[in-house]
């Protein structure tokens, strides 16, 4: 059809407008495709690694020694593969290297480069740790005054998310890494853990009870509760939600923009449409013609988005893989379905909705289209009749009238600004909440420096410098939630449970104090009841929630020590750990030491990455804001070009005309910005609450005053930039425009 040429020439002439919406669509598809492909690659690598290298179904640490015969008996009885593994921590260059003996049946190490260690002086180390500390294969590393040669880079199936303590939130290869040695080279004081593999990931029924009958269980962790294994799946699930939510919103925005552009195009060409109809063009031929715009935008956006998304997914997959310490078992996995969805859905939606919009305009009779459109029926809408709009000088009244007469435009500007603001504030809140989380949790509440966990139940009197606590994992009656219960001293100086700066310590006598994540997971608050269940003997206890503390990490519950000991059947003075200011002097009976400063360092070392992602989000927010606002202000100039021209003819300067026509929407931008602030906070809080069950932590989502200021400056600059771009168009409106329109 010859009319196609008209489409291409119009697209060329109005390239900024159409390129803007195509870029929006491209961003939506690119985000979807890159995230989906990266997630698919991550998921596939995780699955292959877990299956092929026999990722543990559980592991446990026994208080006493467990013989090989006993393990064989359990293996036969419960159809499970069990293997002992020794490990020890070493301090190297201000970091910790956890060295494991090589296993053969469970958690088999994967050597990515080089070879596995064979002699007593050899070791394979995690690649990401080696990279951070500039170790190469062949280099020597000194552990506890003993030199080892690095023979290769290793990945362990149970250290995919490489955190030192299971309570750690963030992995940091700068501070912690893993290594394997051959079994023969382990002569140091090492801990022993027993790894179990069942093939289906479940713990056999009654197994845990059987083990606890034979020996005291210091720790029993199934793979679902192990963040080193489970966090990657949590991240996959969380990211899956993001792969659709954000792109869908941008897609909706871009389709709305296309529809608006189409409506505008058809308004401008109503006489042409009328002529074509009069000549005998059928509606479906005209629909096909006008759909040309949507096809070009749709194809450029989707194909560009698919290409950019596929390209971006490679570094994104590698970034994920490094973050999660997963070997590149497959280089690039892609789901053809992702490509189909990324291509078909946006294009289909765009074409269908544009067809609908075009068909609506084409319902008008050709004669009506041939006549000039009635600009106004001479009646004022109720909005225009408001007394506020009747007051003031001409400029004020003109601006207000323009505003209320273009309600749809105001709505689009409102949504555009809101989207950019929410995205920007998401970044700022996340950035700030990391600091707030460290400040509140680690500095205001957790006052100890070290948490020392013992291998067996202790009853001896502790030093004055220590505060004893009992820690046990409890279940809930009829709910699949694990709770870490702490029995603490009411008057201890190491845990100061508080909420909004006020101490809650005295509330312990009234019931349990719970952490914010636990309150979110259970949906409980002060005064509610929780039905606790002892995992070992199924005893139950009802406790009332006395308060919710501003403790943002872990599903923690705090009770007086005697009360928890009573429930667990332990002596009143028993404890499993102590909080203290100094590291333990005697490590004989110590099973594990949590160093709080390391956890804080972990957080702080990741702020660089967080800053980068915040910057990324800000750029994204600004980009979308600029595209949307510039497009809209551009259309405003186009629509009002006869008035602009007339103002110029009358002697108004460009600056005055710009004030009359362009800056009209400033109040909308300001309102949208301030409405978006609580919206961003609320929606982020909602998201955190949804994810808390998987992540085990909550982020404070308060909006600080500096965020409001920064956000305001960024949004205002974005708006001014858009205005600046549209002012160039305004300057180009010729003085003859008014006359031309009059003639039409």
């Amino acid at each position: 059809m010859i009319l196609k040429k008209s489409v291409y020439r119009t697209l060329k002439e109005k390239k900024f407008q159409y390129a803007g919406v195509a870029v929006l669509l491209l961003l939506a598809v690119m985000l979807y495709v890159s995230l989906s492909m990266a997630i698919t690659t991550l998921e596939s690598r995780n699955e292959t690694f877990s299956e092929d290298y026999k990722q543990e179904s559980f592991h446990f640490v026994a208080g006493g020694s467990v013989t090989d015969e006993q393990l064989s008996l359990w293996e036969d009885e419960y159809n499970v593969t069990l293997e002992k593994r020794k490990y020890a921590d070493f301090e190297v260059d201000d970091s910790t290297v956890r060295v494991f003996t090589t296993t053969e049946s469970v958690n088999t190490p994967y050597i990515a480069e080089g070879r596995a260690p064979t002699s007593g002086q050899e070791l394979a180390i995690s690649k990401v740790y080696a990279e951070k500390h500039q170790y190469q294969i062949g280099d020597a590393i000194t552990l506890d005054e003993r030199e080892f040669e690095i023979t290769g880079f290793v990945y362990l199936p149970d250290y995919i998310y490489m955190v030192e303590q299971m309570t750690d939130l963030l992995a940091d290869a700068e501070k912690f890494g893993v290594a394997v040695v051959s079994s023969s080279s382990f002569s140091v004081n090492a801990q022993t853990e027993i790894l179990g593999w069942t093939g289906n990931g479940d713990v056999p029924d009654g197994f845990r009870e059987a083990v606890s009958e034979e020996t005291s269980l210091l720790q029993f962790v199934n793979s679902e509760e192990n963040p080193r294994i489970g966090f990657v799946e949590t991240e996959i699930e969380g990211a899956k939600g993001m792969t659709t939510t954000l792109p869908l919103f941008i897609l909706a925005l871009s389709i709305a923009m296309v529809l608006m552009l189409m409506k505008r195009r058809m308004e401008m060409q109503r006489k042409e449409i009328g002529t074509l109809m009069a000549l005998g063009y059928r509606k479906k031929e005209l629909v096909r013609h006008y759909l040309g715009y949507a096809w070009v935008i749709g194809l450029v956006g989707t194909v560009g988005g698919l290409t950019a998304g596929a390209g971006l997914s490679v570094p994104l997959s590698n970034l994920y893989a490094n973050y999660f310490n997963l070997p590149a078992l497959s280089m690039f996995d892609w789901d053809p379905f992702v490509l189909v969805i990324g291509f078909v859905i946006p294009l289909l939606l765009l074409i269908l909705l544009t067809t609908f919009a075009i068909s609506r305009t084409l319902r008008t009779e050709p004669l009506t289209l041939l006549r000039p459109k009635e600009v106004s029926n001479g009646k004022k809408s109720w909005l225009e009749k408001l007394p506020l709009l009747q007051k003031g000088g001409f400029i004020r009244r003109f601006r207000l009238r323009l505003l209320v007469r273009n309600k749809a435009r105001s709505v689009y500007i409102f949504i555009g600004v809101m989207f950019s603001t929410v995205l920007l504030l998401f970044g700022l809140i996340t950035f700030n909440s990391m600091d707030q989380l460290v400040e509140t949790t680690y500095k205001e509440i957790l006052k100890y420096d070290y948490a020392v966990h013992y291998q067996s139940l202790m009853t001896e009197e502790t030093d004055e410098e220590q505060s004893p606590f009992i820690m046990n994992e409890l279940g809930l009656v009829d709910e699949d939630v694990k709770i870490t219960a702490y029995g603490i001293e009411n008057d201890n100086a190491f845990i100061q449970l508080s909420a909004q700066g006020e101490s809650l310590q005295s509330n312990l006598s009234e019931g349990a104090i719970i952490s914010a994540p636990l309150a979110a997971v259970l949906g409980v608050g002060e005064g509610d009841e929780i039905h606790l269940q002892n995992s070992l003997n199924s005893d139950t206890m009802h406790v009332e929630v006395a308060a919710v503390a501003d403790l943002y990490i872990g599903n923690n519950l705090y009770l007086p020590r005697e009360e928890l000991n009573d429930f667990l059947g332990f002596p009143e003075e028993a404890y499993t750990g102590t909080w203290q200011k100094q590291p333990p002097e005697n490590s004989g009976n110590v099973y594990m030491v949590e160093d709080k400063q390391k956890a804080i360092d972990n957080f702080e070392s990741t702020t660089g990455a967080t800053r980068a992602s915040v910057a990324g989000m800000a750029i994204f927010a600004v980009l979308i804001g600029v595209i949307v606002l510039t497009l809209l202000t551009n259309l405003i100039v186009e629509e009002n070009s006869p008035s602009i021209s007339l103002f110029k003819v009358m002697g108004y300067h460009d600056k005055e005309v710009s004030k009359l026509v362009l800056s009209v929407y400033t109040p909308i931008v300001l309102i949208a910005y301030f409405v978006s602030i609580p919206l961003a906070s609320l929606s982020l809080e909602q998201t955190m609450n949804t994810l808390v069950q998987e992540t085990g932590f909550l982020m404070p989502t308060d909006v600080a005053w500096w965020m409001v200021v920064i956000g305001f400056i960024v949004i205002l600059l974005t708006y001014w930039l858009s205005l600046g771009l549209s002012k160039r168009k305004l300057k180009n409106v010729s003085l003859q425009e008014a006359l031309k329109k009059q003639q039409d």
């Binding site: 009319l3 008209s6 006489k271 002529t275 074509l276 009069a278 005998g280």
Partner: protein, 233 residues
């Protein structure tokens, strides 16, 4: 193609006022003739042209163009009728600004199953040399020539011209009239011209006068003059 209108009525709403655009309008136009409909603004001449052309509907009465009765035609059938039989020429030319002269004519050509030759048509309207120009690069008269070529290339049976010279000066206007006469003679196209320019009636085979929606007078012009000689007003 002959045109018969019988007691056609048409009212429309303009704001709160109901306007009777056509009152019992009846006419008979013979095949291959040039007919001029004269009348002041608001006399209903454009409405009559539009209902004959099938871009507007009438409330009552009957219109028959060739063998097609327009009374009960559905939208799609009306489109087919326009596509096959009708060529439109507007006062403001209504060319597509993003298409060249040749491409604008091609817009009309695509609709026809038996179109005229492009080069021949453009040469006949004197625009072959400017076939690659865009409408904005042409004068009013040239634009109207292109509009005529666009209507003509379809090889229509009737050509409906709504004030075709209304925006043109005398010399250019007369050139357009010559072209319309040429089309009528060369292709046997029935040409209906509506105008408020009384002089144009002198070149038509028959003249219809309208006032307030009614056909008040109609007569045959036994000696139509050459368009060059019409009295321009």
């Amino acid at each position: 193609m002959a045109i018969f209108a019988n007691q056609v009525n048409k009212t429309y709403q303009s704001g709160e006022v109901t306007v009777q655009a056509l009152r019992q309008a009846s006419l008979e136009v013979q095949d291959k003739k040039i007919i001029t409909i004269l009348g002041p603004s608001g006399s209903g001449k454009s409405t009559l042209l539009n209902v004959i052309g099938g871009i507007d509907r009438y409330d009552s009465g009957s219109i028959k163009v060739g063998g097609t009765v327009l009374d009960q035609l559905k939208d799609r059938e009306l489109t087919d009728y326009r596509r096959k039989f009708v060529g439109f020429i507007f006062q403001q030319y209504n060319l597509i600004p993003t298409l060249t002269v040749e491409e604008n004519v091609e817009v009309g050509r695509e609709l026809s199953q038996q179109p005229l030759d492009m080069k021949d048509t453009l040469e006949k309207v004197g625009m072959w040399d400017k076939k690659d120009k865009f409408p904005s690069q042409l004068s009013g008269g040239e634009q109207q020539r292109v509009a005529i070529a666009r209507a003509l290339i379809k090889n229509p049976q009737i050509l409906l011209c709504d004030e075709p010279t209304g925006a043109l000066d005398e010399e250019t206007g007369k050139n357009i009239l010559k072209l319309l006469k040429f089309v009528n003679e060369q292709y046997g196209t029935t040409v209906l011209i509506i105008t408020h320019n009384q002089g144009i009636g002198e070149m038509a085979h028959s003249v219809i006068r309208m006032k307030s929606g009614e056909i008040v007078d109609s007569f045959e012009n036994e000696n139509p003059v050459d368009p060059e000689k019409v009295t321009w007003s």
